[in-house]
C-alpha cells in the first residue's frame, strides 16, 4: 500500500480514503493552529506579567527558597518524552499500524502527562509549606497565574486523551476521530513548547533576576 504524500501535519493520512474529509481536516487543523496562536498570546502575556513582577516579592519567599530544580528537571524530561510518544502515536496512525500500537502510545502519553501533573502539584504543595502561596506577594501571584495555567492545559489534554480513547472505542477509527487525534498531538507538542518557555523564563529567569 502506498502512503499519502508527506503532509504538513503528522498523521494526516486521510487523503487516500476520502478527499472531502481531507479538505475538512485541513481546515479544522488550520483553525486549531489559529486557536493555539491565540492561546500563545495568553501565555505570552502571563510571561510578560511574570517578568515585570519578579521583584515584587514584598518580603515573602523568593525563587531561591521555593524552586526545586531537581523536580523541574524530572518534569521537563517527562513532558519531553510524552511529546515523543504522542509523535509516535501519530506515526502509527499515519502508517496504518495496528490500532493497538496507536492506543499504546496514547496510553503512555497519558501516563506521562499524569505523572507530570503529580510532580507539579507536589511542587506547589512543598512551595506552600515554605509560605509560597499566591496570596503572599505579587511575584507569587504571577507565578501561580502562569505555571498552573500550563498545568491546567496539560490536565485538559489528559481529559481529551481519555475522551478520545472512549470515542475510538465507540465510534471507531472514523475521519472525525482521526482528525481529533491530529489536533490533540498538535496541542500536546504546543504544551511542551510552552514548558520550555516556563523553565527558561520562570525558573531560570526567576533564579537569575529574582
Amino acid at each position: 500500500m502506498k502512503p499519502a504524500p508527506t503532509h504538513s501535519y503528522p498523521g494526516l493520512n486521510l487523503g487516500r480514503r476520502h478527499a472531502g474529509a481531507h479538505k475538512a481536516t485541513e481546515v479544522v487543523t488550520f483553525g486549531f493552529w489559529v486557536f493555539l496562536m491565540s492561546d500563545l498570546v495568553y501565555f505570552g502575556l502571563m510571561f510578560g506579567v511574570y517578568i515585570t513582577m519578579i521583584d515584587a516579592q514584598a518580603g515573602g519567599p523568593g525563587p531561591h527558597e521555593l524552586f526545586d530544580l531537581y523536580s523541574i528537571f524530572a518534569q521537563t524530561l517527562i513532558l519531553l518524552t510524552s511529546s515523543l510518544t504522542v509523535g509516535l502515536a501519530m506515526l502509527a496512525l499515519k502508517y496504518n499500524l495496528p490500532r493497538g500500537r496507536i492506543v499504546l502510545w496514547f496510553a503512555v502519553t497519558l501516563l506521562l502527562g499524569l505523572s507530570f501533573l503529580v510532580l507539579e502539584i507536589r511542587d506547589f504543595m512543598s512551595m506552600a509549606d515554605k509560605g509560597g502561596i499566591p496570596q503572599r506577594s505579587g511575584f507569587l501571584s504571577a507565578f501561580y497565574g502562569l505555571v498552573p495555567l500550563h498545568g491546567l492545559h496539560v490536565a485538559a489534554g489528559c481529559v481529551w486523551l481519555v475522551v478520545l480513547g472512549i470515542q475510538l472505542r465507540v465510534m471507531g477509527m472514523t475521519d472525525l476521530v482521526v482528525s481529533r487525534m491530529v489536533r490533540l498531538a498538535l496541542f500536546w507538542h504546543f504544551l511542551d513548547l510552552i514548558w520550555i518557555g516556563i523553565i527558561t523564563i520562570v525558573y531560570f529567569g526567576g533564579l537569575t533576576y529574582g
Binding site: V41, G60, S137, G138, S141, V163
Partner: protein
C-alpha cells in the same frame, strides 16, 4: 461576610433588589433605578407573552435558536445588538440630562451616574458594536466568498450563545444587585476587593470574560473561513474589500482578545482568591492592568472600525456605479492599520508617568496610523469622483461619515501628541473624540450596511423616506451632542462627572442634551422605518436579489438566499465578479447539472451553553459556589457529549436544489430589468439593467 462563609444563596439577599432601596428611601434616584429594572422585567414578560400568544415557541426553537445557518446567526446577532443599542442610547440620554440640569444640580446620585457610564461603555463596545459588526460579517462573508457556510458552523452558534448570555448579565444587573461603577475599563485598585467589595465589578468581569471567549471563537472562525473556504478562482486580490477588512479584523481579535481575558481574569483572581496582581499592597501593580487592558483596547477600536470601512467601500462602489478606486492601496492600508494598531496602546495612558522618550515613540506610532487612514479617505473620494452617484440611504450615511469622520480622526491626531494629551486627557474632549470616530465611523457604517443588505436578508427593501429621516436625525443628533463636548473639554470639564460648578459649561450641556434627544428620535426612526417597511413589504419585494445593481457575489443569488447559499459554487474570474458577469451579459448562468449539498444540521449545543454560561456567571457573581461548580461540570460534560454526535450534517438532494434554483431562474427570466434611476420604485424586483455607459 467573606467568600468562604457565604451560604446557600451566596451573598444574594433581599437588599440586592432595587425595590428594597425604593421602599427604604424613596427618591428620584431610586425611582430611575426601579424604572430601569421594571422595563427589563416588563420587556422579558412581554416577549415571553407574545411568543406564547402567537404560538411562536416551536418556530423560534427550530428555525432560529438551534440553527447553525450563518445567515440566521448573523441576523440574531444584529437583533441582539439593536436591543442593546436601545439601552445604551437611553443611558446616554439620561447621562446628558443629568449633566444638563445645571451647576450642582441633577437627579441622580454619583454612584448611579457611575453605573450608567460604566454600563453605557461596556454595552456599546461589547454588546452593540461587536455583535453588530460580526452579525453583518456572519451574514455576508460566506455569501461574498462563494461558500456554503462558515468554517465552523456550530462554533459560530456557540459564539453567539456566549455573547448573548454575557449581554444578559448586564440586564440582570439592573434587576439583581448593581453594576460596576468603574467605567468600561474597570481600572483597579478602585475595582479591587479592598475598595469595591460589592458585586458590581464581578458582573463586569464575567460578562467580559464570557463574551471575550465568544468573540475569540468568532475571530478564529472568520479568519479560517476567509483563508480556506473561498470559491475557486477567488484569489486574495479578488476578495471584496469588505472581506479584507473582516479578515484583518478577525486577526486582530485572535491576538487582541487574550489581553482582555488576562486582565479581567487576573482582576478576578485578585477579587476572589486574594491574589496581588493589581492591589496596592504586597507587590501588586495596578499599572500592569492599564497596560494589559489597552493591549486589547487599542486593537479593539480598529477591529470595530475596519469592517465599517469595508462596508463603506462596498457602498461607495455600488452607488457610484464604479469599480472601487485604488483597491490595492486599500488592501495595503487595511493591513497596515491592523499591524500598526498593535504598536500604539500606550497613548491611552500617556500620563501614567513613563519617560518622555516612550511617550514620544508611541505618540509618533499613533500619528502614523493617520497615513493609511488618509489613503483610504482619498480612495473613497476618488471612487465617488465622476461616478454616477445615487443619494440612497447607505450613500448618505457614507457621505456623513466622510465629512464627520475626518474631524474625529484629526482630533485623534491632536490627542496623539503627548503634550496636548497632558492637557485634555480625562476631559470631555476625549469623550467627544471617541464618539466622533465611533458614531460616524462604526455606527453609521453599520446602519449603512443594514440598509444596504437588508433586502438581501429578508427579500424586501427598507423604506427610503424613513431611512433618509434617520440619516438626518443621526447626523444632526451626533453633531449637537458631541461637537460641543470638544469645547467644554478644552475648557476643562472632566469626563464622568455627575455634577459640575462652572456656569460657563451650561449652554454646551443644554445643547448636548438636545442632541441626545435627537439621537433618541433617530433610534426611534430606525424602529419606525422597520415597521413601515414590514407593513409595505409587498410593494418592495426583490426576489431576484440584486436591487442596487451591485457588484459582489452575494447579489448574484436569490433574496433571501436559500439555506445552502449557492446552488452551484461559482467560479470566480474577476474582482467584482458579478458586476463583470453582468457587463458581459453572463449573469444568472444556467447550470448543466446539480449536486447534493450538505448543510449543517440544527443543534442545541449553542443554546445549552448560552443558558449554562449565564447561570455560571450569576453563580460566580453571587458566590453561590455549589451552583458554579455544578454548572462548570455540566458545561464540560455537555460539550464532551456533543463531540460524540456524528450526525451533524444533512443533505439537500440535487433534485430539490434543481427545483428551487430553476424556479428562481424562471423568476429572473420574467422579471423586468430596472435602471438605477428606478431603484426605489415598486417595479424593482431585484433585476438590474446594467448602466453600460457608466461602467466604461
Amino acid at each position: 461576610m467573606t467568600a468562604a462563609e457565604s451560604g446557600f444563596f451566596g451573598r444574594l439577599n433581599w437588599e440586592a433588589f432595587p425595590i428594597a432601596g425604593l421602599i427604604q428611601d424613596p427618591n428620584t434616584n431610586e425611582i430611575v433605578a426601579n424604572a430601569a429594572a421594571g422595563v427589563v422585567i416588563v420587556g422579558v414578560v412581554a416577549v415571553l407573552g407574545l411568543l406564547t400568544w402567537f404560538r411562536l415557541w416551536g418556530p423560534l426553537w427550530r428555525d432560529w435558536l438551534t440553527s447553525a445557518d450563518h445567515k440566521k446567526i448573523g441576523i440574531m446577532y444584529v437583533v441582539f445588538a439593536i436591543v442593546m443599542l436601545a439601552r445604551g442610547v437611553l443611558e446616554g440620554v439620561v447621562m446628558r440630562a443629568q449633566q444638563a440640569a445645571g451647576p450642582g444640580e441633577g437627579f441622580l446620585e454619583a454612584k448611579h451616574f457611575a453605573e450608567l457610564f460604566s454600563t453605557h461603555g461596556t454595552i456599546m463596545i461589547f454588546f452593540v458594536a461587536v455583535p453588530f459588526v460580526f452579525g453583518l460579517a456572519n451574514f455576508l462573508v460566506p455569501l461574498m466568498i462563494g461558500a456554503r457556510d462558515v468554517a465552523f458552523p456550530v462554533m459560530n452558534q456557540i459564539s453567539l450563545g456566549l455573547t448573548v448570555s454575557a449581554g444578559m448579565m448586564l440586564m440582570v444587573s439592573l434587576v439583581v444587585g448593581e453594576f460596576s461603577t468603574g467605567g468600561w475599563t474597570a481600572y483597579p485598585p478602585y475595582t479591587g476587593a479592598a475598595f469595591n467589595p460589592g458585586v458590581g465589578p464581578d458582573y463586569w468581569i464575567w460578562a467580559i470574560v464570557v463574551s471575550g471567549i465568544g468573540t475569540t471563537l468568532t475571530g478564529i472562525n472568520f479568519a479560517v473561513t476567509i483563508y480556506k473556504l473561498r470559491a475557486p478562482g477567488m484569489k486574495f486580490m479578488r476578495l471584496p474589500m469588505y472581506c479584507w477588512t473582516i479578515i484583518c479584523s478577525s486577526i486582530l481579535i485572535v491576538f487582541a482578545m487574550p489581553p482582555l481575558g488576562v486582565a479581567a481574569l487576573l482582576l478576578a483572581a485578585d477579587r476572589y482568591l486574594d491574589f496581588h496582581f493589581f492591589t496596592n499592597d504586597l507587590g501588586g501593580n495596578m499599572m500592569n492592568y492599564a497596560n494589559l487592558f489597552w493591549l486589547f483596547g487599542h486593537p479593539e477600536v480598529y477591529l470595530l472600525v475596519l469592517p465599517a470601512y469595508g462596508i463603506y467601500s462596498e457602498v461607495f462602489a455600488t452607488f457610484s456605479a464604479k469599480r472601487l478606486y485604488g483597491y490595492n492601496s486599500l488592501v495595503i492600508a487595511t493591513m497596515s492599520i491592523a499591524v500598526l494598531s498593535f504598536t500604539v496602546w500606550l497613548h491611552h495612558f500617556f500620563t501614567m508617568g513613563q519617560s518622555a522618550l516612550i511617550n514620544a515613540v508611541f505618540g509618533i506610532a499613533t500619528m502614523l496610523i493617520a497615513i493609511p487612514t488618509g489613503v483610504k479617505v482619498y480612495d473613497w473620494m476618488a471612487t465617488l469622483y465622476r461616478g454616477r452617484i445615487r443619494f440612497s440611504v447607505p450613500m448618505l450615511y457614507g457621505l456623513a461619515f466622510l465629512m464627520l469622520f475626518v474631524i474625529g480622526g484629526l482630533s485623534g491626531v491632536i490627542l496623539a501628541n503627548p503634550t496636548v494629551d497632558y492637557q485634555v486627557h480625562n476631559t470631555l474632549f476625549l469623550v467627544a473624540h471617541f464618539h466622533n470616530v465611533l458614531l460616524p465611523g462604526v455606527l453609521f457604517g453599520l446602519l449603512a450596511g443594514y440598509n444596504y443588505w437588508f433586502p438581501k436578508a429578508f427579500g424586501f427593501r427598507l423604506d427610503e423616506a424613513w431611512g433618509r429621516i434617520s440619516v438626518v436625525l443621526w447626523t444632526v443628533g451626533f453633531m449637537l451632542t458631541f461637537l460641543p463636548l470638544y469645547f467644554v473639554g478644552l475648557m476643562g470639564m472632566p469626563r464622568r462627572s455627575y455634577s459640575w460648578e462652572d456656569p460657563s459649561f451650561h449652554p454646551y450641556m443644554i445643547t448636548a442634551v438636545i442632541g441626545a434627544l435627537v439621537i433618541l428620535a433617530a433610534l426611534l426612526s430606525v424602529v419606525v422605518q422597520l415597521w413601515v417597511s414590514i407593513r409595505n413589504r409587498e410593494q418592495t419585494r426583490v426576489p431576484v436579489g440584486d436591487p442596487w445593481d451591485a457588484r459582489t457575489l452575494e447579489w448574484s443569488i436569490p433574496a433571501p438566499p436559500p439555506p445552502y447559499n449557492f446552488a452551484i459554487i461559482p467560479r470566480v474570474t474577476d474582482r467584482d465578479d458579478f458586476a463583470a458577469a453582468k457587463e458581459r451579459g453572463a449573469a444568472y448562468p444556467h447550470p448543466d447539472r446539480y449536486e447534493d449539498i450538505t448543510i449543517p444540521r440544527n443543534t442545541s449545543i449553542g443554546f445549552v451553553l448560552c443558558v449554562l454560561s449565564g447561570v455560571w456567571m450569576f453563580a460566580l457573581v453571587w458566590w453561590i459556589w455549589w451552583l458554579a461548580a455544578l454548572v462548570t461540570v455540566m458545561m464540560i460534560l455537555s460539550f464532551i457529549l456533543w463531540t460524540f454526535q456524528t450526525d451533524t450534517e444533512e443533505v439537500v438532494s440535487a433534485e430539490d436544489v434543481r427545483r428551487q434554483h430553476e424556479a428562481w431562474l424562471d423568476l429572473v427570466r420574467n422579471a423586468t430589468p430596472v435602471t438605477r434611476d428606478h431603484e426605489g420604485a415598486p417595479e424593482n424586483t431585484g433585476l438590474a439593467r446594467p448602466d453600460l455607459e457608466a461602467a466604461t
